[in-house]
Subunit: 281 residues, 4 copies
């Protein structure tokens, strides 16, 4: 399915500064970028970087004088997600896990799985099928955590959210990841453009590693799972910040949009009875 | 300097086939892609891949029925090359070389440096400054090898070219690389869009590793060195084929163009007395 | 300088279990392993793995029946550390930082630098030379945090330690790293065998990225800096656990030793006035 | 099965020189190194490096004065090969191939598959099962190429061997690889210690990529396939040289041995009727 995504970021620069932005759509076998435009006004050199091991697409802009700067990004992306089947999904065995997945099993800044071990295992430990475990914990978060704009900030972690029981998409994803890892299910964070997200903004979800594939979950249930354009994956929000600002910089405005660019979109949501998942990998 | 590059490739597919194309401009700290469009007609899924270790940008298209297919690629690219200085350039010491450079020191399919050891050392071994060695061997190739379209094919190697003394840009680059490696100077091949190449086509040049940076050389001297938009780097043409075709496929047409997209272009060529180089890294 | 290191780990296995151990000495250009022996009693298959991107050396052992198991590791290692000079060390500029260093700039599970920004900048922000910043914060930790065995556990983070002001080597390192990152200095954690550590145990220190090299710091000041044999590096202890145990496993005993294996060891400690550092990279 | 391997290399150094040796046994999930000793006499610093992307284990020794140097390596290695089954092995489809395998599909210095396309397809193109294709071409090499010590040198390639019809293990492997690649079967070279190789020396074989696993083939048929201790893998011998010598160095002596270190070894050879393979991965 083709989507047209846009992001416009406006900054007020008050000292020499460096911006690192992670707003480009990922380019993968299942996510093809057909068109892409980056406009920087006033025009400045932008370095194209990839994150440590090539996963994410960064641009770095160095600004030497005080000015207002606007970065506009636009892309047409075609996504080829895959339906996955989790009937009789066996438990994850650490004895067979590839080392590339290990980092997503250990606690991270915003996903302190080591502190949620008792909670996760008391609540979800008795479920045998790990797909159903993740589905259940996703449902639990959706039912028990209130989606409340402005209730959290960049320091809020999964551990905080479990106490506060309020947050935004980022917090929902962090809690989902932390609970997965506490159940020995590798899980990772991702940022995305999302169709039908209202009000429009960058979105955050998570993926759980089930049967050697990364399967998509969204505890907010705000958008159809097949309306996602991935931007970046990482252990948590610390790895995937949309914007990292160094210097005296203030963000004045962020505008995001994501529309379908062809006909025939049918929204997809998980139904527990069907044991189906969706993978963008 | 901003360039607008275009490539249009037309294929006639006569059986189920797989195309792997390497025509996207590289995205690096010194080469920013501001706009990019890929059009496939009739429309088919294209997987975006990166070569083994993330260097090059590939697309793979699987075609299941007989048809004619046209792939059009267009990009606006901004390049920030750097002038390098090679006065008192010390000899390359293998004792300090980073292992990431080793592959470019060993012989490869089209650059049999092991067979050119005596020739290279007899001709250029007495020159002390390795920058001047590469400049001299580049000049030697330019003076002694005739640029002759159609004189060689996809099996022609540096060893052949040294005997035949005729070839195209690919052959000039292979011979340059083989001679560098025979002098214990790491060297790698790259494909490019090139401004002022006449007739317009994909271009091929090489880079030598001097003073911990990859410095650009072009033994054809057909284009200014600062008019290059890089596509792919590798050991030789085997790593960087513009198109790899699997199945019964015939290429009907290839159109390539590269224009400047802003004012003020001043062509740059090496002058031995100045000991200056150009790096796109 | 040559060191002989030993580790003996005894486990009681009460159910099918998987052990992942990270006790092998790193093999790097500046740390050569001349002899190495691994003994598993009773003998079981051990898979040799490397962590996600080849940094650390892991062994994974799957144990299917209840039994007592002893893993013994012994190595003779030759270290070639390098003295670094930090006179006129310029401030770190994010505009020039290599992306491979970014992960060590962001907060992680045990090093919540985002929460220590005000503290770090109030205390150490006015110091100009980043080497001196790290030296000062190391001294501050050493003077203000009490080294107290058993005062902390596997959930204790830098944020906790700044309140409790007590901990062990792991906590000292985490706090050092968190403060560095809060000052925009990349910093990473490492585990090590350490000469003269009393009582003998695995040790943990940290490295700060200064002038494009990783420079060693140890806020515990328990051992000479040139008596270190590195085991693993990572963002924090979550990446570098000596043992990760999955299943019903209890650790019965850990014995560690590190001796010099040649004459002439002269202990090295930092002296602020000298602006010298030590790098094992 | 446990093996004890030894290598002793003696060099006469006549000028400042750099040696890069690739004699350490690989450490992988299916090849565990239990004991390992490196002795350099007279003692010199040896840097431990890994090849470009971590595959192979190198040591680099810089020697500044004229002297005789002896490098001795000894290891006890436990190998856990796996039997693979190739009944109904489907043809390799480039449309599904992982990019990490692409380099082993293209021609390389000693394996000019592009020049052997007609030969390979005429001889083996009609066989449907790719496992049987590789088995047949291996048998063809074994029957038609004479194993003759000293008949070839470091410049001899697969193309030469197909004309000369004589060579050593290295040439047999290169020809096997070139023919596989000409049939669109990815294939790679490896060096090894081999049990029962007579006279004792380093051995070279190849692996073909069949059903997403690397399966072992040895066209020399000199040793049982389950008696292999892998040293290095690469595109061909250019990537995996046991010793790369830079400077005025002469090799005086090489002694290699490989013995079983436990009871019960049963030699394994391929039998076409059984469609079984052996994988060390």
């Amino acid at each position: 399915m083709k989507f047209e995504t846009k992001a416009e970021l406006k900054y007020n620069i008050l000292s020499p500064a460096t911006l690192i932005l992670n707003i480009h759509a990922l380019r993968t076998p299942r996510q093809t970028v057909l068109e892409e435009t980056l406009v920087i006004e006033p025009y400045l050199k932008a370095e194209e970087l990839s994150s440590e091991h090539g996963e994410n697409r960064l641009i770095r802009i160095e600004i030497l004088k005080d000015e207002d700067i606007t970065i506009s990004y636009k892309a047409v992306v075609d996504n080829f997600f895959r339906e996955t089947n989790h009937t009789d999904q066996p438990e994850i065995s650490v004895a067979n896990l590839d080392t590339s997945v290990f980092p997503y099993l250990y606690p991270s800044r915003y996903c302190q799985s080591d502190k949620l071990y008792r909670f996760a295992n008391n609540k979800f430990g008795s479920i045998k099928n790990p797909y159903l475990q993740v589905l259940e914990l996703t449902n639990w978060i959706n039912s028990n955590v209130e989606y409340l704009s402005g209730s959290t900030n960049s320091q809020t972690s999964a551990y905080d959210t479990l106490t506060e029981l309020a947050g935004v998409c980022r917090d929902f994803a962090h809690l989902g990841i932390a609970l997965c890892r506490a159940l020995t299910i590798p899980a990772r964070y991702f940022t995305a453009y999302a169709y039908k997200l209202n009000p429009p903004d960058f979105h955050a979800c998570f993926e759980a590693y089930l049967g050697n594939e990364w399967v998509l979950f969204d505890a907010t249930k705000l958008v159809p799972l097949n309306g996602i354009v991935k931007i970046a994956t990482g252990r948590d929000a610390a790895d995937t910040a949309v914007a990292s600002l160094f210097g005296n910089v203030s963000c004045k405005e962020i505008n995001v949009s994501c529309k379908v660019a062809e006909e025939g979109f049918k929204p997809f949501y998980y139904k527990p009875a069907e044991l189906k998942g969706l993978s963008y990998q």
